[in-house]
Symmetry: D3
Subunit: 287 residues, 6 copies
């Protein structure tokens, strides 16, 4: 590897130090998913970033979904999915596969990657230690085991953070009778950030951030307040596919999270660059 | 439910009290599997027993495999297994299914059941917090991702026990490069019990205990020392199917575990009756 | 001892588990006295119950008087007592005997019994660590060293409970100049329960509970609210001898104690049956 | 009270400071008894001294017998004692009185006095928390419930010292079946000092110290080593009545106690003067 | 040294005990300066007093200026000072000398003296751990690096007190850019006492206390309330040189300090006599 | 400031992470002095490096001398120094100036710089908390208050590190009577590193490292073992001016320090580059 010049090192240290001091001891929830999850190089970079965050005293919590893995497993098992209003109807058989993939494959894979990067990770689902309790989501009729979060108990997360572990949480919740619910991972991340009174919620997507007009790459919004975000959602300016994410941001900020960042997880070390340098990448939403 | 007579209550209290006092603060590793895992009533009873153990100050750790679930999933996915010397050849595709089932289905199901019984459980695999590191088992040639344990790090288990959680561990280990290995669940339980310096290792099977002659139900061995066990293995007296379990017992006892019990997990509340009453059920092996 | 059938064990566990979980970490003050104190079998059963409570995480505190022992010692010493309005006039000489018996005989005897049952007990009087400060009770004129509680300092009790000890408290209090006062043991138990914000106060008597009509054994009251209790005291329905106990219950409940139980201490293991089974024995008073 | 001149204050501070620093955090066992217990002024002074010791960071533990009180109570109850070789034959009836007086009267009286002086005291007997276990002393034949110490468990003492309490221990021990034994208070103090690895054991008597010839008041021994003490016992030089005390000293020093002091408890504030000034009063025995 | 009579010892103990108990665990800020700092005997006595305070559980904090040392060093370096309205104009060169003397000479000298007396002292200036932040005092025009306190952060003081150290603080503060400011030592002591919610602030001066008329030595005020102090300042009764000190007292008391004492630091052991005896010396101001 | 490219960030993170993990929780003693102390830019860079070290979990301890400042102050005061064998004869008057400069000027200046960089620093001399005790160095005859270290007590350093403070230590020690001694700063750093069982001792000089031949800049030694170092000292290969530093390295390594680095303090951020990148700068000496 090419040696780093003293000038560059100096530059970085001078830039990073105040951020490192500012975030020490703070909790940062990172929603990790999409394409950032598929490339081996990107995955390794994200895990290194998370471990580095922990090294400088930040308390990172990872939340993940697992889109592509789920589809692949359902296909292998010959299970076809129905969709209602764009949402997958999750019957019992599908839910079993979803849970196996999320909590048994994706989750443990992330854990293993963090361990390889030198961190100490613990893979959890919302069932562990009563972390997330859900009930059936009926806003769009009965679409099976799709859950709406009704309770978050962060005791286990706190216990693990206290001991230096990095919790990795799959987006599966428990019903009151122990049944499994699939919950949107952005929502899990938002609710967890709120319950943990996190300093930041970082949503890693596969786009650079929130655009005024997604087709126009120059229309990226660097910084946005909650009222601005609400106005843009209301006026239809924000790209339709981004609306759920923007709603998640607003809810988390209303719930007390310090700031929400939407960043491109496919950029190497986007997390660290966003947290520790003066450069803004992606979109930051604040109250 | 029928009221309990004072006499019976008195009886039980007088019997149980010295055992409760003796085991308070002690770690007990329970290998849970086989048929005890399939009946809903038996499962509920085991979970209640484990929660009760925790209530009286014991530190239970559950280890599980997941036989029938794995076969069912492999069949669904149309994956056929090769067997070499009675052992399944575990190629990459098979290992992925094995891990999903063990860590994503069976494990989280047990966690949900303990939560329902009022306990606080955390589902782990050997990958979490570097709990179990394995390398390829080559004693029987290359049979794929079947692992031999090379390191156990109990820090995470201790952290969870300290906070009152009941750890539930699936028998999947991590290789040094983060790859997954399937390890025999009895072996995991034995190694964990040894590393935790457990007071007891309890192997829940679907037979009553160890027999001199499995065909002769009157030949159950109540209590056995390590030299006796070794002699019986050597002389071929012990039933062949029991030999791996007996070997596990011997290794654990040599490693410092106080006693190993082989009990019938299909008997309701066998765990509590074995731990807290004068009645011997199953087989106890001691140094 | 007769082996216990699995059915009975299952029954008991299913019943007891939710109660054990509910009371874990809670403080329960037990007033122990009367005939429950005279039979060796009953005494041993009470001590086993108290030790079992401690084993399942409850924090029991025992309070006792010592009626028969006091009379016996006074007789031996040839000290005759005067009675005013049913209350013994306690002059200095009498008080000295009362204290010796309560704090030196009955108290240490209970401590030794708990130690024998495997618990760790510490015998205290209200003088130790400034636990209970009293002044002369003058409601019925000057009847000597009969005290009215003016201050309770629970620091010592908390310190002992924290370390796993079972405090055993005799009903002797200190005046501000270090003199001794005899205080009614039910009152001591009630005030201590209040100061400790106890979950329960259990008064062990030699009757089954509170009756509407003591002569009619079918008129036992299972459960009663404070307003009902007050109404019954007001209307003269409650048996006269029970009025002080009922007043103690009301005061404790008003002071924040969760529930007060009046049970028959002569029934073997009445404490455990009352706490851990669905069966109601005796009378429970709640707000 | 007469104002103290600055010179005197200066004098005292300069003298006391190094001793205070030397003994901070150290445990000092004080055997309190004899005539020092009978005068109100002396008692008050001893209690103030003990409280002051605690204030400057010393961990005092008081042990007491109760000679005159016992005789008085036995007389009142019309119980006559037999003596064998100078030792009281302690039958069951006598033992009951002895225990009541020691643990119920003398002990609680000392506690109340310490509380009055502003300290926090807890009165214990050897029964509490399994502090002292004894068995029948048979060296002089069967003389009843006179005990020989077989086990000391200092957990309770440590727990109380840790929280700032001053333990006050009566010389009654428990047998393995919970029965009571009377043990010589000097012996209790010595064994306790040994088990606590005390810095000092101070025996408060009613003589100035150990004399070569008790009749010759100029023969007081200021300082003595264990070999010297043994030689003097052997040669019959030491006064016969002092021999048991000297034996206690030797045993304690052999057991690891730093130094043993024999001082005159009837001198006001002898404890403080002995501990904190350059003046030697009484006799100090060291290894 | 002359032996101390038992009577005197008794006298002292009886007097001191309630004060020692009252102040245990309390913080006492001592401003040390003036002539009390110049005589070797007085210095040694003050240090012994401070160490004794620590031994009996008080948490002393020393604040000092360093008048004569500063003048001497300035003279040696040939730096002449300008005075405006009685205040030294402190240019950069002067400030450097002032800081070197206060933090490098006087401060470390006091530390060494406390260590010699057996205490554990840590010398600090207002710069250490962000203890005291100041800005330029401009009330009297620009007189250079004379500071006005704008922030006190007591974390470091608390950390040291917790570990048994005696903090010794020189009256130098840091500006927000790390520059040095000279602050009046009485003011530093007052602000520190306020921020620490100290029980007492003791100003050691070289006069006996506050006089109505400084020329009339019989007009010493023993005890004064804040309103009285304010009235006397207002009416010009209080000696002019004492006004800043009295203002410091009033500010500290308003800020929550329990009491302020002005005592003569040249009297040997004045600190201890003031704290622990009934004798009033100097002047005490209370709310 | 120029934005940093992702490539560079990635590069740095990948390089730094394993070092950060390796040194987390470890103590690193940094001797800071010479020219690195004179340039404002270099000073600021060193302080930022030290604060960054603390942020990533390292426990840095700074030791400093103060050459140029001392000469300047002595000159100002008109004190001329005698030299014996290259060592300054330090009489009482000189020592007073040396101490004022080191502990009152240089030390507090470094503290203020660290505070400005966002760290929490505490300036100490060897006198504080009994940190370093010295006696007169007489190896070269009587050259006054030049000290030889006889005792190091690291309690205070540990207490401060535990609470997150960065200790800054001037090279002044206390004699047993509280007098001041000037000790070579390299020696102080070495002894402190040894007593703290430091992972690393870093000597910041104004040369690039240790040369075989100082005149030949290509002869820099990157890595050297203790035997090699001794051989080179023995054979006269090492530059004479470097011999004391090399001796310090050897002593520290013999005393258990993990590694000693000699680096050029005038290179910006040399500390961080040396610790956290693969690039070797300067000379590293190991066992």
């Amino acid at each position: 590897m090419r040696p780093i010049s003293y000038k560059v090192a100096a530059n970085l240290i001078v830039q990073a130090l105040p951020y490192i001091q500012k975030f020490a001891g703070k909790t940062v929830v990172v929603k990790y998913g999409g394409n950032a999850m598929t490339s081996a190089a990107t995955k390794a970079a994200v895990m290194q970033d998370v471990v580095l965050m922990r090294c400088v005293g930040i308390r990172p919590v990872l939340v993940h979904g697992g889109g592509p893995d789920i589809n692949q497993a359902l296909t292998k098992m010959g299970i076809e999915s129905q969709f209602v209003g764009g949402l997958r109807v999750t019957d019992g058989e599908t839910m079993e596969v979803v849970e196996m993939v999320l909590s048994g494959k994706t989750n443990k894979h992330i854990v293993a990657e963090i361990q390889k990067a030198g961190g100490q990770a613990v893979g959890l689902s919302g069932k562990d230690g009563g972390l997330i309790t859900a009930e059936k989501e009926t806003a769009n009729g009965d679409i099976g085991f799709v859950g709406r979060i009704v309770k978050v108990d962060t005791s286990l997360i706190h216990a693990l953070l206290e001991k230096g572990y990095i919790p990795v949480v799959s987006s599966v919740a428990a019903g009151v009778n122990g049944e499994s619910f699939n919950v949107n991972a952005d929502t899990v991340a938002g609710e967890l950030a709120t319950a943990l009174k996190a300093e930041k919620l970082i949503l890693m997507t596969d786009v650079t951030g929130i655009y005024r007009d997604f087709a126009d790459k120059t229309s990226l919004i660097s910084r946005m307040s909650v009222p601005e975000a609400e106005a843009m959602v209301g006026s239809g300016v924000i790209d339709k596919g981004m609306i759920p994410k923007v709603q998640s941001c607003i809810t988390a900020l209303r719930g007390g999270v310090g700031a929400v960042h939407v960043i491109d997880g496919t950029m190497l070390h986007a997390l660290i660059v966003e947290l520790f340098t003066d450069q803004g990448i992606g979109t930051m939403v604040e109250m």
